[in-house]
């Protein structure tokens, strides 16, 4: 007897919907709701095929009432169901954030652990396709700032499937943020690296484990989501200049793999944080702070550098947007800049 191993490449969108479908098949408590998740299959195809497979009682289109259905997800989770609730664009969180951060995130704590809220919020993030200031943000820092939410931000299909399965099985609220520009949609240009081999069988990837997606010795690029793919391209270019970049894909912001960041920076002595969220008071600051807090054990060769959206709303026009959102060239230039320092 022989086992046939076929390698399958999936887009990140396919990986997410496959993870969801497999978990729905395994666990009847799981259901999906959100705007256009049914017949349309999700605006970013994160729920494609689910309605056909599971029917309208388990794949529910909702009115444009995010507070309504996020609150309903909480209420259903409290009763033991395991909702997956889609916020079409993360940019819309402002109409329903009270349900998310004051209730979904805190009720377990406020109940002293007596109540559980196993639910997943999926949402599309990121720009690069000229969708302007209200449809292009990342905002994961905000979800990571408020306590009580696990925050998952995958960079590729393989990780997305494993992390989504983990998310659905987690007994806590999880927000799963997928960047539109790595979903592999047929109508939006995307980074090839995000579409990769994905086993058909179910598997999980634990939260809180960052992944060294490229080893290197000169500089550490701490990054996530689409910016991982940009960093890979930058690293290729840097390699031709003799600069060896290590790329750390955080994968989850809560829990955060602090040890992995510190280990890599200890090795390379240089840190660039490459982020698509707003620069100030967010993710890039947190990672830089981690280094600042460990200056007694780390030996740095250069000050820390951060690359992020320079505290401006995402502009619509192509040249403006390309300027505002960090690109491959900016990563390359920042790393080059880091190499010019020689601390101590």
């Amino acid at each position: 007897m022989s086992t046939t191993t076929t390698t399958r490449r999936l887009t990140m969108a396919q990986a997410i919907s496959e993870a969801t479908a497999q978990e729905m098949a395994r666990d009847p408590r799981v259901f999906v709701m959100g705007e256009d998740v049914g017949k349309y299959g999700g605006i970013f195809s994160a729920t494609t095929g689910l309605l056909e497979q599971f029917g309208p009682e388990r794949v529910m289109d909702t009115p444009i009432s995010e507070t309504g259905f996020m609150g309903a997800a909480l209420g259903a989770a409290a009763e033991g169901l395991r909702p997956i609730s889609e916020l079409m664009f993360v940019d819309f969180f402002g109409v329903c954030f009270d349900q998310i951060y004051n209730h979904i995130a805190k009720n377990h704590y406020m109940s002293g652990g007596a109540c559980k809220y196993p639910l997943v919020i999926t949402t599309g993030i990121g720009g690069g396709y000229n969708d302007a200031a209200q449809h292009s943000q990342c905002l994961y820092s905000i979800f990571a700032h408020v306590p009580g939410l696990k925050v998952v931000v995958p960079s590729n299909a393989y990780d997305a499937k494993g992390l989504m399965t983990t998310a659905i099985r987690d007994d806590n609220p999880v927000i799963f943020l997928y960047h539109k520009g790595i979903m592999g949609l047929s109508w939006m240009s995307y980074f090839e690296g995000s579409t990769n081999e994905v086993p058909e069988a179910q598997y999980t990837i634990p939260f809180g484990e960052a992944c060294v997606v490229r080893e290197g010795s000169d500089v550490t690029i701490v990054t996530l989501s689409q910016m991982v793919q940009k960093s890979m391209l930058a690293a290729d270019q840097l390699a031709t200049e003799g600069i060896s970049a290590e790329i750390l894909d955080l994968r989850t912001l809560v829990p955060l793999d602090r040890a992995a960041v510190l280990a890599s920076v200890a090795k390379t002595g240089r840190l660039l944080v490459a982020d698509e969220d707003y620069l100030s008071y967010g993710l890039s600051g947190e990672i830089a702070a981690l280094v600042a807090e460990n200056l007694d054990t780390l030996r740095l060769k250069a000050p820390v550098r951060r690359l992020a959206v320079p505290d401006v709303p995402i502009p619509f026009s192509h040249p403006l947007e390309q300027f505002a959102i960090p690109q491959v060239d900016n990563i390359v230039a920042s790393v080059r800049g880091l190499m010019t320092f020689k601390l101590d």
Binding site: P63, G68, G71, G112, G113, A114, K116, N172
Partner: protein
């Protein structure tokens, strides 16, 4: 739907219990909050005493809680708001653990983490929230779960007339009607949202008239009366249990205390609260019971002794329970 003798007596006893609970709390709450024990210059210290923080009491609003909860089972869900005691008591939340929670004790419902606006008792499916209007969508979720799980459990969302102008109200009512969920939305119109009178916050006189916007029945209970609430709620709960969808009920009720304890109530006409107490719903139901020979001085006294024992035991339990360890603040952010 007519209340049985048992139901009438249950409502009466629960109302007496709620009232004693609130009146006791009004006293306990004041302990150590007044001069000279507090920072010089202060008239009151909200953060001092055995029960610190905000305190919203529901004395006067008992009919809403008992008239609705008389129809509920343990597996029905109730979501309350920032003024939750009467609902919690009527839903049979563990009185000791609830009281310990307000004392911030380790034996509390939330091990002291929640406090008076955040009472969670999953055993009887009770929860509440300090955010105005937030409970309504959550009740829809419980009702949705009941449908998905194939039970005939129902969910009640209780909130104030002020909450009925919050967006969450609208979204929840539409969702409930659209999906024909077994929910009953109950608005307590106690005339004020903190200091703002209903006429200064709500474009129409009765929220019951808003039911039309969702194609669901809307019922106005004009009297702060347990039996009147019981009748309106009975039909609504039965309808929900039959799978026929939600109902919106508004009850005109009375708030005897300030919005929270310590409220100067300068916005309220002088003597208003006192006047409201002329129509106290507890003696009113007592009189009805007596008129039907269901209550007399002796049984009333026995009932009050029983209730008092329960209430005072709960306060003793709360007072005498240990505080959590400070570092327990770090626990329960996530379930394992």
């Amino acid at each position: 739907m007519q209340a049985t003798t048992e139901q009438l007596l249950w409502m009466y006893e629960k109302m007496v219990e709620i009232r004693e609970y609130e009146e006791t709390m009004a006293k306990v709450y004041l302990e150590a909050k007044l001069p000279p024990k507090i920072q010089k210059g202060l008239a009151f210290d909200i953060g001092a005493g055995p029960v610190p923080g905000e305190m919203h009491l529901a004395a006067g609003q008992e009919p809403v809680a008992v008239g609705v909860c008389a129809h509920l089972r343990r597996d029905d869900t109730v979501v309350g708001a920032h003024r939750p005691h009467h609902f919690a008591i009527a839903k049979d939340v563990d009185l000791n653990a609830m009281t310990a929670e307000m004392y911030g004790k380790a034996t509390g419902l939330g091990r002291g983490k929640g406090g008076h606006m955040h009472l969670f008792d999953p055993a009887v499916k009770f929860s509440c929230s300090g955010i105005v209007g937030a409970g309504a969508p959550q009740a829809c979720g419980a009702a949705l779960a009941a449908r998905k799980l194939g039970t005939d459990a129902v969910a009640i969302a209780f909130f104030g007339e002020g909450a009925a102008n919050q967006g969450a109200f609208h979204e929840a009512l539409n969702l409930a009607a659209l999906w024909k969920l077994p929910v009953v939305f109950v608005v307590e119109d106690n005339k004020y949202g903190i200091s703002v009178e209903k006429s200064a916050s709500t474009a129409i006189a009765s929220n019951a008239d808003r039911a039309v916007a969702y194609g669901m029945p809307g019922v106005l209970v004009e009297k702060n009366d347990a039996v009147a609430v019981f009748e309106a709620a009975g039909e609504a709960v039965a309808r929900a249990r039959r799978g026929e969808g939600p109902t919106l009920i508004e009850v005109k009720t009375d708030r005897y205390y300030g919005h929270f304890q310590g409220d100067p109530e300068t916005y309220r006409p002088k003597g208003e609260a006192k006047a409201l107490r002329q129509h106290d719903p507890i003696p009113a139901l007592g009189a009805l019971l007596r008129s039907r020979d269901l209550l007399d001085d002796e049984s009333d006294a026995a009932l009050r002794t029983r209730v008092s024992a329960r209430v005072q035991a709960a306060y003793d339990f709360g007072r005498n329970s240990p505080y959590p360890e400070p570092q327990d603040a770090l626990l329960h952010v996530f379930a394992d």
